[in-house]
Each structure stands twice: as C-alpha cells, then as structure tokens.
Symmetry: C2
C-alpha cells in the first residue's frame, strides 16, 4: 500500500538512501542511461555532491519519499560555464511500484516552479528520453516540452541501438 508521499530537496544524509534507489531502478527499467552497473559512487562522494548541490544556484535535486524510502528523484542539472549557465538538464526517475500515480507530473511541476523562481537564471530546459518510452514523452509534452531531435543510436540497451528524443522548453524573459 502506498502511503502519503513527501517531496523535498535532497540533503546530504540522503546519500545512502539515494544510491539504493538508483541501484534499484538501474535494474528494473531499461529506460535509464545508467545500466545494471549502477551509480558506482561511494556514500561519502554522494554526500559531498549533495552538499554542493544545496549551495548551487543552477542545480536542484528533489526526492520523493514513502515513509523513509526514496522512491523518486527529479533533478535540474546546471552548468557552471558562463556561456551555458542558463541551460538546465532535467532527469526524473521513479521506482516501478509508484508508476501511474502522477508522481512524475507532480515532481516535474515542482522542478519547473523552481526553474521559474527568483533564484534561478535558467532560460532553457532540456532533456533526453528514449523514443520508445511513450509514457514519459507524453508527460513531457503535456508539461510544454517540444521535440527538437530524434537521435539515432542515442543509447544502447541489451545489444540494440535505440532512438533517443531531445526535448526542450524555453522559460523566463530574455
């Protein structure tokens, strides 16, 4: 049974819980870029990363929790280079047991809210999604993302080279 789900910014003490989530979803879906090899990071390294994300004005990482377990992650990853600082890369991952409850939509809404907020300098959001992942593509389109390219051989999964979609959304005033 699914209880009340809480969404909040990740904090350094989430490190181990986060790595467990990543390892789990790396195995249960072929839609991730990361494969069964998992995140390959130590808890200490992840803690440091979470500390620097909390201080960053271009990157934000949200976690969704069911009780104490992380069951979803949504991230805008920015770039420190001055020429690219206005571009945010979005990625979302949700544990399979929690698909179909609009959690992806809710988390995406929170990311876009942050991207449009007072601390953000973002002007372009972008993401990649496997062409066969129709559920996710539909969600992104609904949120306002537009297809920019279909990239042949954009990912390899179980020996097959698959198409990957590049999608983007312009935000803010320029």
């Amino acid at each position: 049974m699914i209880g009340t789900i809480q969404i909040r910014e990740a904090i350094p003490s989430d490190a181990e819980n986060l790595l467990n989530h990543l390892q789990k979803i790396a195995v249960e879906t072929g839609f991730m870029t990361m494969g069964a090899e998992g995140p390959g990071k130590t808890v200490e390294a992840k803690q440091k990363e979470l500390e620097s994300i909390l201080e960053s004005d271009v990157t934000v990482l949200l976690v969704a929790l069911d009780e104490k377990e992380i069951i979803g992650i949504a991230e805008i990853h920015g770039n420190e280079s001055p020429k690219l600082k206005h571009i945010g890369d979005i990625s979302i991952s949700i544990a399979k047991d929690y698909w179909g409850i609009r959690l992806g939509t809710t988390m995406m809404e929170r990311l876009i809210e942050w991207a449009n907020g007072p601390t953000s300098q973002l002007k372009r959001l972008e993401l990649t999604v496997q062409a066969r992942n129709e559920r996710a593509r539909h969600l992104y389109e609904k949120m306002g993302f537009k297809l920019e390219a279909i990239m042949p051989r954009g990912v390899k999964d179980e020996g097959d080279y698959l198409d990957v979609c590049l999608m983007s959304m312009m935000i803010g005033e320029i």
Copy 2:
C-alpha cells in the same frame, strides 16, 4: 609565416602548451563554449587527464603543432557508461592565424579514421556548433555530418542567446 604542421596524439608533457592554446582561443573567438574565463585547470590536472586519455579506448586527443607551439586541437570524447560507450563527442579548435589552410578538414579526417579503426567501438559521432559559424558547419557537412536539431538558446555569448546546431554521423557496422 606558417611552417610544416605536425599532427599527433597529445602526450602528458603537452599539458602546459595545451592550456596556453585553450586560453588563447577562448579569447580570440566567440565560437567556443568556453569563454574568456579559460580552461581553469592546473598543469598537473591536465597532465593526469592526458595520461588517462592515452589509455582510453573511447577518447582520443590530437594536437597540431607549428614548431613547438600547439595551434589546433581535435578530440573525440567518449563515455564510460556501457549504454553510451558507442557515442563519441567531437570538438575541434584552431588558432585564428591558422584558419583557412584546411587544417580543420585534415584533423577531422584523422579523427574519423581513428573512429573507424580497429580499437574503436564507436557507432555514432556527434557534435554541436553555433548556427552562425557557417565555416565550421560547412566543414562538418562536407565530412558527412547531418543536422539533427537547431537548439534555441543553446549558448549565450556577449549577452545574446544563440542557436546551436546538433549534428551527427553514424559509423561502423551494427
């Protein structure tokens, strides 16, 4: 006067010379992603990077030298993740004094040769180029790259948000 130009793989002792080249071109052209802030790396860090590139089977870095000065760089940057290991990102930079002597063409030919060679597992080459950089776009088209997307606000230069082209070329047997 331009003497005989030598092209070879970069070695660790090129580190300082390489950083000087990057700093120079970061200032002299607006076509780079890197701005006037320069590469921001120490010679020691660059040396370590060059050592690991020499051992990599997904990344190669070529330098063009006029006497002892590095005047051009061409790189295929691979990805260690198994699902993306077949994708190589290409970047080329040439000092302004050496534009118009077909050095870009020659270096790109050498990269493609390496990508098709026996040690390479690459199946997709990709690159980004500012839409206004017609000289470079023409070169890439001539070498067989196809336009996949025009990305609005793909880079910011001197306050302006500029279109960036995503181009790709499929190689090898799958």
